[in-house]
């Protein structure tokens, strides 16, 4: 268990800056997810914490110990940082049995053969792979390989576990199962977990904290629900949430002592946004699909639109509604029997609309 601190970490590959002046504190015992689209620098960050990549500049601390400092020329090699890394491809050694894979690290530490056997079978039992110990990785299913990869890390009793998109090679159903198992593993071992994924749902469901990265820059570090409901900028709002948030271009205007936005025939007001110098500027209105209510009858505050298409998804319906030149997605939980080109009226739930300034920042 340990806190991880990154101080002004920058990583350049040639002229490309993969991670840009990243400062981040990963709390002890937390399940922190590095989330972002591919190429955002999340895996590079993880590899720098692991010690496999070296920052161009900056410092990294793990549990009160400086493991890397470009300034002081300080560097602790990966094997001495007391952390474990589960690779996206699992990286099981194909020429070793499951047991040999799991016990490799203990062998490197020159532990006694009895100890090794004991620790390995204990961990194998926890991960329910104890009957696979004599098999080779090629004889295992994807989920089993995943467990072996985790077991190989767990036997070392690391203070930090790093997981690099560990579920991306599994099919959808198995992924769901493994999510809950890894989450449970976190609460049972109590170790700090740093988890890398590009799947926002995975980040929301598993983490205690999510760090969103974009183009090598940290966008926001927050608990999952904060991230969802109070995204700091348009990028996060757009990246987190499925189906995607509706974003409509518009212009800011004055309403009493605060700002409102008029966007594509919709209007929303923001009582807490009082910077009236912004009046007249372009801005973006953001509303999540579940924050829009749909009605087939005219309502006083409703905006009229037209059904563009209806997409049933089992427990809910996604309705695409055309308003002016914009297409909005609305989540409905009841079958309203909508048909294409039918007129509908939409209503935005109070206090759920978000407004992003021209630079993408959330207006509060």
């Amino acid at each position: 268990m340990a806190e991880i601190v990154l101080k002004n970490v920058t990583k350049k590959f040639g002229s490309v800056t993969a991670v840009d002046n990243l400062s981040l504190v990963i709390k002890e015992g937390s399940f922190t997810t590095l989330l972002g689209p591919s190429g955002c620098g999340k895996t590079t960050t993880l590899r720098m914490i692991a010690g496999l990549d070296h920052p161009t500049s900056g410092e990294i601390w793990i549990g009160n110990r400086c493991v890397f400092s470009s300034e002081k020329g300080h560097y602790v090699p990966p094997g001495k940082r007391n952390l474990g890394l589960v690779f996206q491809s699992y990286a099981l050694w194909p020429h070793m049995t499951v047991f040999e894979n799991i016990s490799f690290g203990l062998n490197v530490q020159k532990r006694r053969a009895d100890d090794i056997r004991e620790i390995a079978s204990e961990v194998a039992a926890v991960l329910r792979i104890d009957d696979l110990l004599d098999r080779y990785p090629s004889e295992l299913s994807g989920g089993q390989q995943q467990r072996v990869a985790i077991a190989r890390v767990l036997v070392m009793k690391p203070q930090v576990m790093l997981l690099d998109e560990p579920l991306s090679n599994l099919d959808a159903k198995l992924r769901m199962d493994m999510r809950s198992e890894i989450k449970r593993l976190h609460s049972e071992t109590g170790s700090t977990i740093v988890y890398v994924t590009h799947d926002q749902l995975e980040a929301l469901t598993m983490s205690t904290d999510v760090a969103v990265l974009h183009n090598g820059v940290l966008q926001q570090l927050a608990p999952p629900m904060d991230l969802y409901h109070r995204p700091k900028n348009e990028f996060i709002a757009d990246f987190v949430g499925n189906p995607r948030i509706n974003l409509i271009q518009g212009r800011l205007l004055k309403e009493h002592d605060h700002l409102a936005i008029e966007a594509g025939g919709l209007r929303a007001s923001f009582p807490h946004a009082t910077d009236l110098s912004l009046v007249g500027e372009e801005a973006t209105l953001g509303i999540r699909p579940e924050d829009i209510m749909l009605s087939t009858n005219p309502t006083p505050e409703g905006f009229e639109g037209m059904v563009y298409s209806v997409l049933p998804a089992g427990s809910e319906w996604y309705v695409r509604v055309r308003i002016g030149n914009d297409l909005l997605t609305v989540t409905e939980y009841d079958d309203m029997g909508l048909v294409n080109d039918q007129p509908v009226w939409i209503c935005i739930q109070p206090n759920r609309a978000k407004c992003f300034a021209r630079n993408g920042e959330l207006l509060d």
Partner: protein, 600 residues
């Protein structure tokens, strides 16, 4: 950057493989750059034995004598331009012929319903495994005419017809025998190119209404074109540096190419002019290397669009099927069993040229030294002849050591290039280790001669030692093993090793328990080709051997010069047998695949 930061960076990057790679780069630069400088200098000075040719000059004086004599005046024809033209004619025509044979064979095997494909593929590689001049010795044995004295060839013995000189010696047989030796290159590279074409590319063309012929011309041919061109350059550069064949077949009619001219210059005590010829050859080699790297770039872009190959309909040969099969078989037998058999028979005839049963003997294999039996040579049969046995032993030693050095270096280079992919350091290592590939062998040998004939600084003169031969062979064949090493290492994802790093394993632990076990089979494949190449090498070592360090290949020259062909042939049979047996055994035991290492 402050000193602490700098030191920290150095320490992080100073892993055993990077240190070793720096050493390898420095060494390659040393053996490539320094010889060039030495050779250039040699062309401008008077050598001890040239005092009498250049009036008033003392050894060591600066002179333009070599340049003038080589490139200008009445001597230039004989000392440069004629051999140069001969070299071009020889290399170009034999490359074209080799490509044609190899390409047609490749198409037949990969794309048609020809029967016995596996057998054909195996047999088609054999001519390349045999020493390059095996075929020329067999040619002489078969088609010798009375011009060089001694007995007549098997053909004249059987038919009584005296063959014209142009058929027996000179350019015609040189081109034929070299093409027969090098066509397996074309066969292997073109067939793998053909196999790698995504069948969907052809199917799309066919669905759009293109016939087989049009598809072949518009789709298949352009796609394999880079492979064809690259193979052509490869073969061409090999022809440039080859020594045995033009020496055996060109000698009797005084036909010189650059390689034999280089040799003659050195033997004739004209080192200045010899190095000048070598420099020209190296220049040509570099030019080819440059062209190949341009082509390789193009080839890479094709690789990205090539798919898995997929299942593809085979072209039916129809009525031509059996005639074609028979023709292919006859051809392959003619270029494998026939030359081998001819040499074997020749080594068993007491008086050359007499093929009656009563003339059969094992004298040249196990006979005592005698001046009254057979050719009255006073040499014992090769299996009792200490000189020959020592040469055979030397060949084995050089072959094994070369293979080991190449194998280990190749793996480390592959490892470094794969791990540091994308850096300039990796690119430099990759290109530098590939450079010896297209250097004409004999010119490369002469560069080593220039470099190691005297001690230089801490590096002793290695002339007259087996170590020099091992070194020359190891550098020359490094491209085989480094290419094999790179492609093998690229296939192991870095995570496999990183996982061990995370577990705290040291570099040696990672290499010994992760990398090496995963690479065993390609490591042994990487050993095979340098071993075979060293066992059958002549062009590279002919200038470097001394009486104490004779190899099996170079010792045959002594017997050939005296017309004692049965000895030469017996040794050749032994070499060919060793090489083929090694290939076969390693394939059975370790599943090594020779074709993988050839052609990079």
């Amino acid at each position: 950057m402050n000193p602490a930061a700098f030191l920290g960076r150095v320490r992080r990057n100073a892993t055993p493989h990077t240190i070793l790679s720096v050493v390898i780069i420095a060494f390659l630069l040393y053996v490539v750059v320094v010889p060039l400088a030495v050779m250039i200098k040699e062309t401008f000075i008077v050598h001890p034995m040239e005092r009498f040719q250049i009036p008033g000059a003392m050894p060591g004086d600066a002179t333009l004598h070599h340049w003038k004599k080589t490139f200008t005046g009445s001597s230039a024809g004989a000392f440069f331009f004629k051999p140069f033209m001969n070299t071009l004619i020889m290399s170009i025509s034999m490359s074209i012929l080799a490509m044609l044979i190899g390409g047609i064979l490749a198409w037949l095997v990969v794309r048609t319903d020809l029967p016995g494909k596996k057998f054909i593929s195996n047999l088609a590689i054999v001519p390349y495994i045999m020493p390059s001049w095996t075929m020329s010795l067999a040619w002489i044995t078969l088609f010798k005419n009375p011009r060089i004295g001694g007995s007549v060839g098997l053909f004249q013995y059987l038919t009584g017809i005296t063959l014209p000189d142009w058929f027996s010696y000179g350019m015609f047989p040189i081109v034929i025998t070299l093409a027969v030796h090098y066509f397996p290159f074309g066969f292997m590279l073109i067939s793998s190119a053909l196999e790698n074409i995504d069948s969907q590319l052809e199917e799309s063309a066919e669905l759009l209404g293109a016939g087989r012929r049009l598809t072949l011309r518009k789709i298949v041919f352009p796609l394999v074109m880079p492979a064809i061109l690259s193979t052509f350059l490869l073969t061409f550069s090999r022809g440039l540096g080859t020594f045995g064949t033009p020496s055996f077949l060109g000698g009797p009619v005084r036909l010189y190419v650059l390689s034999t001219l280089l040799h003659a210059n050195l033997v004739g005590q004209r080192p200045g002019m010899a190095y000048l010829v070598a420099l020209v050859m190296i220049l040509m080699g570099s030019l080819i290397l440059y062209m190949d790297s341009k082509l390789l770039g193009a080839r890479k872009s094709y690789v990205t669009i090539s798919g898995k190959g997929g299942k593809r309909g085979l072209v039916s040969l129809g009525k031509a099927k059996w005639p074609v099969t028979v023709l292919v078989m006859i051809f392959l037998v003619c270029v494998t069993f026939v030359p081998f058999g001819v040499l074997a028979i020749e080594s068993l005839t007491l008086i050359p040229g007499d093929y009656s049963l009563s003339n059969l003997t094992l004298h040249y294999w196990i006979g005592p030294a005698s001046t009254s039996i057979g050719l009255r040579t006073g040499e014992a049969g090769i299996l009792r002849n200490t000189e020959i046995l020592r040469a055979l032993g030397n060949s084995l030693k050089v072959g094994l050591l070369t293979a080991l050095v190449c194998g280990v270096l190749g793996m480390l280079i592959g490892y470094t290039v794969a791990r540091m992919r994308g850096t300039r350091f990796a690119a430099a290592l990759d290109q530098l280790s590939f450079m010896p590939y297209l250097m004409p062998s004999i010119a490369f040998g002469s560069a080593f001669l220039a470099l190691f004939s005297v001690p230089r600084g801490p590096i002793p003169s290695l002339y007259g030692t087996l170590a020099l031969l091992v070194l020359a062979c190891a550098v020359k064949y490094l491209p085989y093993s480094s290419r094999a090493g790179i492609s093998a290492m690229m296939q192991i994802g870095p995570e496999l090793e990183e996982a061990a790093t995370m577990a705290g394993a040291s570099w040696f632990k990672r290499i010994s328990s992760i990398i090496f076990p995963l690479q065993k089979s390609s490591f042994f494949s990487g050993l095979l080709l340098p071993f075979i190449s060293a066992m059958r090498e002549l062009s590279l070592v002919v200038l470097l051997v001394t009486p104490g360090t004779q190899l099996a290949t170079s010792i045959t020259l002594k017997f050939t010069d005296r017309g004692w062909y049965p000895y030469t042939n017996a040794v050749m049979v032994l070499i060919v047998f060793t090489v083929l047996a090694t290939t076969w055994i390693s394939r059975k035991l370790m599943g090594t695949d020779l074709a993988k290492g050839i052609g990079g």
